[in-house]
């Protein structure tokens, strides 16, 4: 990704000789430029795509009667700026974007920014626990497989992680719904909260956090129950990649000289594990977690739809089917932003944690 490209493009030796802080600043500046460029690219692609679509947003949003009244259609087009040439529409959008205005969603009638503020916390409530679980399980199982390299455990982990990579998430969602809701009746069928409860007062927008803050433990428990199945599916989706990564990275570390030396010195296995392996194992986890998070966000589209979870995945789906350009753009920009920011953080943390980089 961007950081590695930057690294590949420069002469590493020269970069290393520069003082540390300016290097970081330069790096950040470059990344910022890349991010802005990326977001700009997203607006161009989305704009182009939506204008290729044969559907007309006036048909989707106006009544039959209004469509037969040229004055009203013209007014609608003027209101949404659709009467302008595409490039003017685009420039106008960019101008507003620079002023923090993402436009108004044609389907909800609300500013896209407030729509995002409404739907993003719901998605985060799914994505964050899934990511945390995937990281924990992925690291633990990956390390276990590496330590038991070549044995039965390793085999089982291998098959398990490949299974995770090979299961269609929408199918898995249906299967767990059928099993845990319909057959066993131990889980709610979807949504964020039972209808008996009202959403807790909004602080973060995440029901589990907000209800805990408000001390509403019945609501909290209900919200947690609603989280279980979708989080389960999303974790399955994500953990497989992580397991495979941690395992291979650990194997690499295990074969390095300093671990061999540590073993040779007679250090107990656990101490070696704690002192060296864990840290070394963290590096690949961090490396891949940015990408895994992006994949997770992508996975929420289908999963949220099946579980009736009102997050940005569902919002994106509805916007796409209604040809609601401002919303589609808003979601795309948001995801691209998350993608770049997460990867930036990953790169920074990476630099902090990798001993070899610190040594240099």
């Amino acid at each position: 990704m961007s950081a590695s490209v930057a690294a590949a493009g420069e002469a590493p030796a020269a970069a290393r000789r520069r003082p540390r802080v300016p290097h970081l600043v330069r790096f950040l500046a470059k990344r910022l430029a890349v991010t802005v460029g990326l977001l700009w690219g997203v607006t161009v692609v989305t704009f182009a795509l939506v204008h290729v679509v044969p559907g007309d947003s006036a048909t989707a949003n106006l009544s039959e009667q209004a469509l037969n009244d040229p004055a009203l259609v013209a007014a609608y087009r003027a209101r949404w700026g659709l009467d302008q040439p595409v490039y003017v529409q685009y420039l106008r959008y960019l101008w507003n974007l620079l002023h923090g205005d993402l436009g108004t969603s044609q389907q909800t009638g609300k500013p896209v920014l407030s729509d995002l503020a409404h739907y993003v916390p719901a998605t985060m409530e799914l994505a964050v626990p899934s990511m945390v679980l995937a990281l924990l399980i992925g690291t633990a199982v990956g390390m276990l497989a590496a330590v038991r390299h070549g044995r039965a455990t390793d085999q089982v982990v291998r098959v398990g992680s490949l299974l995770g990579l090979s299961t269609p998430p929408f199918w898995l969602s249906l299967v767990v719904l059928y099993q845990f809701f319909y057959l066993l009746g131990v889980s709610p069928s979807g949504g964020r909260l039972s209808t008996d409860f009202s959403p807790p007062p909004t602080v973060t927008g995440m029901y589990t956090v907000d209800s805990a803050l408000a001390g509403q433990w019945a609501e909290w428990w209900d919200a947690v129950q609603h989280l279980v199945l979708p989080v389960l599916v999303l974790t399955c989706l994500t953990v497989a990649t992580l397991i495979r990564f941690v395992r291979s990275a650990m194997l690499e570390v295990l074969s390095t000289d300093y671990i061999k030396a540590a073993h040779a010195k007679g250090l107990p296995g656990f101490t070696v594990l704690r002192r060296h392996l864990l840290r070394a194992g963290l590096v690949p986890v961090i490396t891949v977690s940015g990408l895994a998070f992006a994949a997770l966000l992508s996975g929420t589209v289908l999963v949220e739809n099946i579980f009736g979870w009102p997050g940005i995945g569902q919002y994106a789906y509805r916007s796409a089917t209604a040809l609601d350009l401002p919303s589609i753009l808003g979601v795309s920009l948001f995801v691209a932003l998350v993608y770049t920011v997460v990867n930036l953080i990953v790169d920074l943390v990476y630099g902090l944690i990798d001993p070899r980089i610190r040594l240099s």
Partner: protein
């Protein structure tokens, strides 16, 4: 910031996270001969089995996959092993004929994406500088979109059909190939023999063909095998959303979508799901094994 992995002669530039994620790393059981890898053998059998099914669907299928019948929603029985769907069509037959769609289409997607990504990756890696930078930004752009949303938008834009679903999936999947090929080119670009060749007046096209391309074949084959499963998955996801091959084509994802309307008729969606699962799993196991075998780093027995 990530130059630590340049220590050994690596077939691909593993400083690129995308590349590392796409290829995964490290052998599982590469050092063993094939016949001592039961999992790989099993995967081979499954893949061969599905290929045979695709080829012989018309012989194997007990019914016409499009034949409607009054026995709608019949649960699995001796007459219909996997039951029937809401139009009374035999699910087993549809499943078998579905292999004729999913597997060849996945192959087409992979081949096209490999062709597009491969050429761009070669060019970018070899020419470097501005071209390389531009290509990397372009791939970043594609990665920044949620894959399924971009594919949805593309196939919605051009109308739902088999061709457009394939097109959409090629558009979202070529960048991985471009990255991998580019990385493998980068690793040989600095090599002395290439330098020498250039000094000897060997043109860029010849150099690409003679030295660079062969070096990229390994990673490309590994990636293609791994991505084959992914292509099956993505195609099923698009079909699930109604953006794949048009009905009444027996596409697995579309079959799951129909079954999802009434989960109490579990057989309608469970069997196509298992079909997808087995194909993708087999592809992934094979891809894994292939990678361990081809990757020269591991062949050295490290």
């Amino acid at each position: 910031m990530t130059e630590q992995t340049t220590q050994a002669p690596v077939p691909v530039d593993l400083t690129d996270r995308r590349v590392r994620k796409a290829l995964g790393r490290r052998d599982w059981f590469a050092h063993r001969p094939l016949w001592r890898q039961p999992l790989t053998v099993a995967a081979l059998v499954v893949v061969a089995g599905w290929l045979a099914v695709a080829a012989l669907a018309n012989v194997l299928a007990p019914y016409d996959p499009l034949q409607q019948d009054d026995a709608t929603y019949a649960p699995p029985s001796a007459a219909h092993w996997f039951g029937t769907d809401e139009l009374g069509r035999d699910i087993l037959s549809r499943l078998l004929f579905g292999a004729r769609l999913s597997i060849p289409l996945a192959l087409v997607i992979v081949v096209l994406a490999l062709a597009v990504g491969g050429v761009l990756g070669l060019v970018a890696g070899y020419l470097g500088r501005f071209v390389d930078e531009a290509l990397m930004r372009l791939t970043d752009l594609v990665f920044a979109f949620p894959q399924i949303i971009l594919a949805m938008a593309v196939s919605a834009a051009f109308g739902p059909s088999t061709r457009n679903a394939v097109l959409a999936l090629v558009i979202v999947s070529w960048p991985v190939y471009a990255r991998v090929i580019r990385s493998s080119v980068l690793t040989v670009r600095g090599e002395d023999y290439l330098h020498a060749a250039r000094l000897l007046g060997v043109g860029p096209v010849t150099a690409l063909r003679r030295d660079v391309v062969p070096n990229s074949v390994g990673p490309a084959v590994v990636l293609a095998t791994l991505e084959l499963g992914n292509a099956v998955l993505m195609l099923a996801a698009l079909s699930f959303l109604g953006l794949g091959p048009r009905p009444p084509a027996p596409e697995w994802g579309a079959m799951i979508a129909l079954g999802s309307h009434d989960l109490s008729k579990w057989w309608v969606s469970v069997f196509p799901g298992l079909a997808i699962l087995t194909v993708v799993l087999a592809c992934n196991v094979l891809g894994d094994a292939l990678r361990d075998r081809i990757d020269p780093r591991f062949a050295k027995g490290r």
